[in-house]
Symmetry: C2
Subunit: 363 residues, 2 copies
Amino acid sequence: MLNLRLPGPTSCPQEVLDAMSHHMVNHRGPEFAALLKNCGEKLKPFFKTQNDILILTCSGTGGMEAAVVNAVSAGDKVLAISIGVFGDRISKIAKTYGANVTDLKFPMGQAADVDAIKKALEADPSIKTVLVTHNETSTGVTNPLKDIAAVVKSFDKLIIVDAVSSLSAVACDVDGWDLDIVVTGSQKGWMLPPGFAFVSVSQCGWQAIDQCTTPRFYFDLKKARDTQAKGETPWTPNVSLMFALGVSLDMMEKEGIDAINKRHAEMGAYIRSKVKALGLPLLADEQVASNTVTAVGPFENGFEPDAFRKILNKEYNVVLAGGQMELKGKIFRIGHMGWFTKEEIDECFDAMAKTLKQMDYKV
Amino acid sequence: MLNLRLPGPTSCPQEVLDAMSHHMVNHRGPEFAALLKNCGEKLKPFFKTQNDILILTCSGTGGMEAAVVNAVSAGDKVLAISIGVFGDRISKIAKTYGANVTDLKFPMGQAADVDAIKKALEADPSIKTVLVTHNETSTGVTNPLKDIAAVVKSFDKLIIVDAVSSLSAVACDVDGWDLDIVVTGSQKGWMLPPGFAFVSVSQCGWQAIDQCTTPRFYFDLKKARDTQAKGETPWTPNVSLMFALGVSLDMMEKEGIDAINKRHAEMGAYIRSKVKALGLPLLADEQVASNTVTAVGPFENGFEPDAFRKILNKEYNVVLAGGQMELKGKIFRIGHMGWFTKEEIDECFDAMAKTLKQMDYKV
């Protein structure tokens, strides 16, 4: 078996994988309707929301596109906060669909600065919407979303959140923090294979959607909401994954959201301590380091993270992620979201220690 | 077990369902790259093409949206041929994205008339693109696509084909008929669960895509092509379904495209003969009746197809599809695409005969 230490796809419990091979049913029949309704309801406590949560057959990026094309019109003034690749991606989606985007970028490895966001909103009252990532997968940093949302809402702006790699592992209080559109992906904190985006929409979010003029069809969230209320999806959904979602949500309900958050927080701290014990550099400031993915590097001593990952994969069946975009070849990343055991993590670090020795790594 | 007689999702072979529960792997690693390349190549003979075939994580409708947003610009003159719900849907997608659509509609149960298409193209030389369904799932009619394409190409127009419920069950000679963009869905003729659209793009298609100004991101086909060439997908794909696709393509390769087409043709004829033997009306003209889905009705004697379907489902585990849109409550539909056995079909008809008797159906 692989020790899959990616920030998605993640390993899944056997019960979940077994559910993936469920025989097909009528996606417009009563059995599927009951499953869909059950899943829609059971997702809510993990988002800490009473909002509608829509289940879309696409990746997390598809979910982010849905958020943008439903709520941002061409010409809308938008503030795009970015602390890495996925923050840049939301900005790119908004630009693609004609939004007038102001980029507010922070250095790789750091979180967004709340005061800088406040200043940007003060400087341009015409901004309608703020786009932000909760957890930046490319750098392993979790933004102070509660504080960011408080500032955004004090200016009465719409807030769209990429929570793809945070929910449900990291607390995201959708109603408490007044988040309008929040997107996550099945293959991250949900102990599931990829194939679904889950999208939460607030009342304020629906009002923005009502006024939005950007054309949309496959990703039409109002259609998704109205159809889901009738126990169906507008288009043929990923039926297999819905069965698996039913299983993973039951498991997660049993564990409880607080216990899940605690497990991830403890594992995040444990992994950072193990990285430091190996004498390796942590990319993220420790105060804002993510509890779902840890970025290690950059390396300035000639060490090649990609060569390191190749050996780990080939000789130890341990799969780490590399760096993306400008961090390509400069860092590696360890995923620890969704379903994992301490044994797997320890095995991963044992293999890392052996490989470092093999590569004659000098601290 | 259900006797699932829908025009998708369809029942899947156990080997395919088993593959759905494959453990997760790195979607940016060598194992997945080899699988993706293999699947991309093995899809080609079923499309009878040398074109790139892109594998998108979405439903068939998502694939049709991809075709439209990549190749049709706002303001483009488009001829949308419709013989039912799915023909109407392509037209709706094109209108959503600002195309200037001329609708050419034919009565439910009939195929498109090639002469009428010719006249429409003669009447308006500004038409750039023709949209057409190969197999209309809502009425169980297969369009004479070869003849339609010959006319469209004699006017040198781009042709976009919804082959969602025809490929690979019904012959679709993409290169021989010079089809530019052809879309199908995994849950139809491919013996797979839903979750993928497969999209074939010709050289002419890529030229149109190069010139198209409609914004796209998740469904960007050039990005899909360039990333797939490197053994990856732009966004996290449905990894489970890729493993299942590998299995189904191996099975289909073994059976062979001609044998698959023949099996569907024979089953189509057999089912129509069984429907007639029960004294039930066929919606489609027999010359153009589909070999993947048979529409039965409309009923003018007070018989309620939806009540009939409910009994079949509850008492016999046989699941038929109902009518859609204006045919809702007026017909039922029997799916026979992808993976099926004669025994299942016979059991379906036995159950139908018993239920008709139970309902005191008068021919």
